[in-house]
Every structure is written in C-alpha cells, then in structure tokens.
C-alpha cells in the first residue's frame, strides 16, 4: 500500500467558492463535482423515499444534481448548502407526486374515502386559503398532529417516513395520528360550516 495522502475535507462553502471562481476551469469543475458527489447519496435516498422506485429516484436525483450544477452560479451562500440543494430536490419530487388532501388520504384511510367532489368538508377546504387552514389546524390539533398533518399534506412525506422522523412509537405509527387529526379537522370544518364562519374564504 502506498501514497496515503492526508485527507483534508474542504467545507461545502469552500467548494462552492472554488466552483464559482472560474466555472469553466478544471479546478472549479473538480470542486463542483466533489461538492455534488458529497451530497449525491443523500439526494438519491431522499428521492427514493419520496418516489418509492429506484429508477424514478435515480432519474430525479440526476436531474436535481445536474440542475444544481447548472445553477451553481446563482447560489448565494446564506446558509447551509444543503438547504439550497434540498429546495431543488423538493421542487423536483413534489411536483410529480399527488398531493394528499387534509380531508382525504387513500394511504391512511383506504376504506373511508367518500367522493371528494361531493364532500362538503372537502369543498370547504378547497375554498379556504392556506392561512385559514393553518389557523384551523393550530386551533384544533395538538402539536404532534399539526406537524404530522402538515408533513403529509404540504411536504408530501410518506406516512412511514413521518413515523420515523417524528419518532412516533405507538403501534399504528403516524397512520393513527393522521387518522385522529383528520377526524378532528372534519369535525372542526363541520362546525365552521354550521356557524357560517368565513375563515379566510375570499369568494
């Protein structure tokens, strides 16, 4: 065995600076390659968890990493490089997934899905602004239910992943939390409808 070089690990921000210094130069391209190589497994793992299919995840991860490379010149290091890369990955994956509703979610309640088009609760939700929904969630759900529901509906996180990231230990995992949260939301919406509150309805 020979040539054991000292392993020096430049930070992400140092690599960004190098990569932006002379984008066409050899050193800058190597820095960009090293930077994105460092994050490639994380991007792939995240895409896989979102999409649940290796080929789709590879496709998405490739697009995310190459998009980051193409737009590296526009990146302004205001925080961790990961936040910027994550935003690209999120936009890429979220756009190709079906967004679960606050009221109906086939992954959580496969047997309790009425026709959303005729469901008064769903119609009310569709007419409410995101801010009004946020207020409703805040005032009717406990913090764990709030976060689980928001992760599911707006971050489009898979139910199993919500169980893991929120450290939910009960046997039904996030599924039970989400079922309870949705039940409370339906009750709250029914009360809202009955009392005729506007709740941010702009129509």
């Amino acid at each position: 065995m020979s040539q054991k070089r000292p392993v020096s690990e430049p930070s992400d921000q140092e690599l960004v600076r190098l990569a932006k210094a002379d984008p066409e130069g050899e050193a800058s391209r190597r820095a960009a390659c090293m930077l994105l190589s460092r994050h490639r497994d994380r991007v792939y793992a995240w895409c896989y968890r979102r999409l649940g299919n290796a080929d789709e995840a590879l496709d998405a991860a490739q697009e995310v990493l190459l998009s980051a490379y193409r737009h590296l010149s526009t990146y302004e290091p205001r925080g961790e490089f990961g936040t910027w890369l994550y935003t690209i990955a999120r936009n890429r994956c979220v756009s190709q997934q079906r967004r679960p509703s606050l009221i109906h979610d086939a992954d959580v309640d496969p047997d309790l899905i009425p026709d959303p088009a005729n469901d008064p609760a769903q119609i009310l939700v569709d007419r409410m602004s995101e801010e009004a929904l946020l207020d409703l969630i805040r005032s009717h759900l406990d913090p764990l239910e709030q976060e689980a529901l928001w992760l599911r509906c707006f971050e489009q996180m898979p139910v199993e992943r919500i169980t893991a990231v929120l450290g939910i230990r009960q046997s039904s995992g996030a599924r039970g939390i989400l079922q309870r949260a949705r039940r409370r939301m339906r009750e709250a919406l029914a009360r809202t409808q009955a009392t005729g509150e506007a709740l941010g309805d702009e129509t």
Partner: protein, 247 residues
C-alpha cells in the same frame, strides 16, 4: 409563506436559538415551519439505510459516473444490466430521447431528413473508397490514434468489486490491450486518494479481511491501466461494497 414565517436557512438558525428567542418561538408554534425544518432534516439525515430494492450502491455509482461525465467531461460507462434498464442511455434519457425524436419527425423536418438520408448513402459509398486510397498512400493521421484500444483516456468497460465468503474483497476488471500494468486506486467520499495498489499485469486484486483495514476510509475505487509511466486506460469510479454484502 405567511409573512411571519421564515426561510429554510433562517429556520436552521432559529432551531439553534435559546427558548424565548422570537424566531425559535415562532418555530415552536408554527406547524408549517416545523414541518419544513423536519423535512429538511430528513433530507440531511443519513442514518437510515435504504432497503435492498433501492439498489443504493449501484445507483450511487451511476450518479457518480453521470456527475463526472457531465461536469468533468469524463465518459460514462455502465454494466450490461444498467444499460438494459436505462434503455442504453442515462436514466431519464429514454423519455427525453422519445420527445426529441417526436420533434424531429414533424412535417417541417422531412426535407432535412431526405437530404440527410441521401448524404448518408453517398458517404457509405465513397468513404470506404477514400479510406482505401488513403491507406495506399500510407498513414497520415495526426494526434492520438482513436482506434488504438489503449489511447489515453480510454475507459475499460467491465469492472466489479464483490465481497467473497470470509469477508475478502475482490476487485476485477477487463484485460486491456496495450497496457503494461494496472494500479488500483482507492478514494474517500471527498475524492481524495487514500491508497493505491499495484496489481501488475493481473486483472483482479483480492484484499483479505485483514488487508481491508489498509483502505479504511475509502469509498470508491478505480483501476488505471499504465503503459510505461503514462495512463493508457481506466475504469469509471465505483463504490466499494460494504462488508455485509457477500455475493
């Protein structure tokens, strides 16, 4: 985003603030900001392993090849199963190629296609004749002969690493014409070379479980074929399989 909500960069900072600090206070009471930060932390978290069907090591290797090809201009190669799965192209290229072909066959492009087809027929007829005459005059190509299988930068097509029973690691690659000896090089995740082994003329290298400590910290491997002291060929970078994945 609500006016009072923070950007992801600010949320990362907010989480580090002491209780009572306004940004931290907001984070604790806003489900949207909490969910955004939780989702980001999930992205950054590498503790949870993916299931076998995610083919994590293989996809990681493919992504590395793609990054090198796109950023450093180094050629992409893949094993036969990869090529079949990806339709002989990079992941995603199949869809893009179909869209591109669909655009090419629209009515407006038909005259161009006719001209191209006619040019191709003429080229098939005349180029072999021209090359034959060129051969009679003797070689006159300048620069490296791209038909030489050991031209600098050539990529050896087959390379694989596997864990054998007993924990030994075996690296194997294709024999390559015009190469005097092979170096097996090991790199960490930051692409720093951490070790190198001279394999001589052999086309495989075996490391015992004990010898694996010598490449501790290495994440990727590559074989470089040398002619004299000059690099004549090399394999793409590939991931070193973990100790728990015997074939």
């Amino acid at each position: 985003m609500k006016p009072s909500c923070y950007s992801l960069e600010e949320l990362v900072v907010a989480a580090e603030q002491p209780r009572g600090e306004p940004r931290r206070e907001h984070l604790e009471t806003c489900p949207r900001c909490r969910a955004a930060l939780t989702a980001y932390r999930d992205f950054m978290d590498e503790r949870d392993r993916l299931p076998a069907e995610a083919r994590a090591a293989e996809c990681s290797g493919r992504l590395q090849e793609i990054l090198e090809a796109q950023i450093l201009g180094e050629p992409v190669t893949r094993s036969a199963p990869d090529a079949r799965r990806a339709g002989g192209l990079r992941a995603g290229d199949g869809r893009r190629a179909r869209q591109w072909l669909a655009r090419l066959f629209v009515q407006a492009w038909r005259p161009a296609w006719i001209v191209a087809a006619a040019s191709l027929v003429l080229a098939i007829i005349f180029i072999p004749r021209a090359l034959h005459r060129e051969g009679e005059r003797g070689p006159s190509m300048r620069g490296p002969d791209m038909r030489d299988p050991a031209s600098p930068g050539q990529v050896m097509l087959v390379s694989e690493a596997r864990v054998l029973a007993g924990g030994d690691l075996e690296f194997a690659w294709a024999p390559t014409e015009g190469v005097d000896r092979f170096d097996v090089r090991f790199f960490d995740k930051g692409m720093d070379e951490v070790a190198r082994r001279d394999a001589g003329r052999a086309t495989s290298l075996r490391l015992s479980a004990a010898e694996r400590t010598e490449i501790r910290g290495a994440h990727l491997w590559q074989v470089v074929g040398l002619r004299g002291e000059e690099e004549a060929a090399r394999t793409p970078l590939r991931e070193i399989p973990g100790p728990g994945s015997p074939d």
